[in-house]
């Protein structure tokens, strides 16, 4: 039983497998005439978003609604946060209103962890600063397992802006936990020195890595988090680290390409790669709903 989902490291490999197996059962709900099950009837879930989000927020909302939970959407814009209310006071307000789970996205690493000390609700991290985005890692693991039939023994490369990426921190740890051999690739300015403690190896040669992998995971260049110069220009980044048709051709035939979105087409990925048959980016989005339903289902059962 999962109490809070703050980091992918909170889950054992057995629990990750349980989340993925359960998600497979939820994929069917999307294909039915009535895309809804009554499982979380009477449970209230608050989506607390302090940062902009399209897919994660909508994905969580759809997952919650398909489980029949009551959903409250809260975004920092247009709330008492604009009047200066602290995270703690907002949390205590939600606690007083009796929510059963809080899905939180925040620009400060550790905000979800803080929240667990203030409320009785189950807390799901939907992305905190540079730290973690565990449901993204789970949906990526699901997508890879569904496409390639297994995780154990696969080889993956995670490429690009690693230093600013909570997705990278979750995905690399999740892949390593499930027995995938991970290589992190990127310009030295965007690869943190701590990567080797994540269980991954580091290389700065993308072209040499491509023929040896089953999974190519491209990260978004997070310009909004770059407060100084990390590379000379987007054009140079695209030439050295971006993946276009020529680099796609260097991958083994059955390798797949993932991207957590939103994509900077023409920077880390070209349009023709994004739309190539072995790019599974749309599947990642579809699977995200089932994986989030699975997490909520596994977390919210039993005596509250």
């Amino acid at each position: 039983m999962i109490t809070h989902l703050l980091s992918i490291d909170d889950l054992t490999p057995e629990q990750i497998t349980e989340v993925l197996d359960t998600a497979a059962g939820f994929k069917d709900v999307a294909l039915r005439p009535i895309k809804k099950v009554p499982t979380l009837r009477g449970r209230t879930i608050c989506n607390l978003f302090y940062e902009d989000s399209t897919r994660t927020r909508i994905s969580f909302e759809i997952a919650e609604k398909r489980l029949s939970a009551d959903v409250i959407n809260f975004s920092a814009k247009g709330s008492s946060v604009s009047k200066g209310e602290s995270l703690k006071d907002t949390a205590l307000t939600l606690q007083a209103m009796g929510v059963d789970a809080i899905v939180i996205r925040h620009s400060a690493s550790g905000a979800p962890q803080q929240l667990t000390g203030w409320v009785d609700a189950k807390v799901l991290n939907a992305g905190d600063g540079w730290h973690q985005h565990p449901t993204q890692a789970l949906l990526d693991l699901y997508t890879i397992r569904e496409r390639l039939g297994r995780l154990e023994g696969l080889r993956a490369a995670v490429v690009g802006d690693v230093v600013h990426s909570r997705v990278a921190r979750s995905v690399v740890r999740g892949l390593v936990a499930m027995g995938v051999e991970v290589t992190v690739v990127g310009p030295p300015t965007l690869v943190p020195t701590s990567v080797e403690t994540w269980g991954a190896t580091v290389t700065h040669d993308l072209d040499e890595t491509l023929p040896k992998i089953d999974v190519l995971y491209l990260l978004r260049v997070q310009s909004e988090r770059m407060h100084r110069q990390f590379f000379p220009s987007e054009r140079e980044y695209a030439r050295l680290w971006g993946v276009g048709r020529d680099r796609l051709d260097k991958l083994p035939d059955d390798a797949i390409v993932l991207h957590p979105g939103p994509m900077n087409r023409g920077v880390e990925i070209t349009a023709d790669v994004a739309d190539a048959p072995n790019a599974v980016i749309a599947e990642q989005v579809t699977n995200g709903i089932a994986v989030r339903m699975s997490c909520l289902y596994l977390m919210l059962g039993g005596e509250a």
Binding site: T22, V37, T39
Partner: protein
């Protein structure tokens, strides 16, 4: 030993054959039938009932599987259970859905199954076939076709073993306290 056999393999076979005849008599044939086995042991029973119907009438009857986990009423008490596969072999709008399960007890599983079926379409009727009715209903639910009525005590377990899952066809009753004692 607290385990006592109440149906042997031949009894299970005969019961299913008789139930198939009753299904045909009641529905005047099997043209509009869809059998849905409730996971897990209802699924092989639905397949066998379908085979019996086909043997009698000469027409194939679609049989599928139904997982009711997401419709159960005890999620808040007992927590999440593993999910199984639901597969409808045919469109159920305008059809008669026959739910098939191994043991009918409190009726709560059947309540969940009816809600699940309704989310997939609008059958003209839902009927219920069970191998064993052991009584102790907690909801106003009754089976249309019963293999064996088996009066039991609430501290007994009824165990249905099928060749498909347990290598043998039989139904036994176990006295729970005695069986658990060292």
């Amino acid at each position: 030993m607290g385990e006592r056999q109440v149906l042997a393999a031949t009894d299970v076979t005969r019961a299913l054959k008789r139930m198939a005849h009753e299904v045909l008599e009641r529905n005047k044939g099997c043209d509009d039938l869809v059998l849905m086995g409730i996971r897990s042991r209802g699924v092989p029973l639905a397949d066998r009932l379908a085979a019996n119907l086909e043997a009698i009438e000469g027409t194939a009857v679609p049989a599928g599987s139904l997982d009711v986990t997401l419709y159960r009423d005890d999620y808040a008490q007992t927590g999440p259970r593993p999910l199984g596969q639901t597969s409808f072999p045919a469109d159920i709008d305008g059809k008669v859905v026959v739910l098939v399960d191994d043991v009918l007890y409190t009726g709560r599983t059947i309540r969940a199954a009816m809600d699940a079926v309704m989310d997939y379409g609008r059958p003209t009727a839902i009927q219920l076939a069970v191998l064993v009715d052991r009584g102790h209903r907690e909801l106003p639910i009754r089976a249309d076709y019963v293999g064996k009525n088996l009066p039991t005590h609430t501290d007994q377990d009824v165990r249905v073993h099928l060749v498909e899952t347990d290598d043998v066809d039989e139904v036994t009753v176990v006295d729970r306290q005695r069986a658990d004692a060292p």
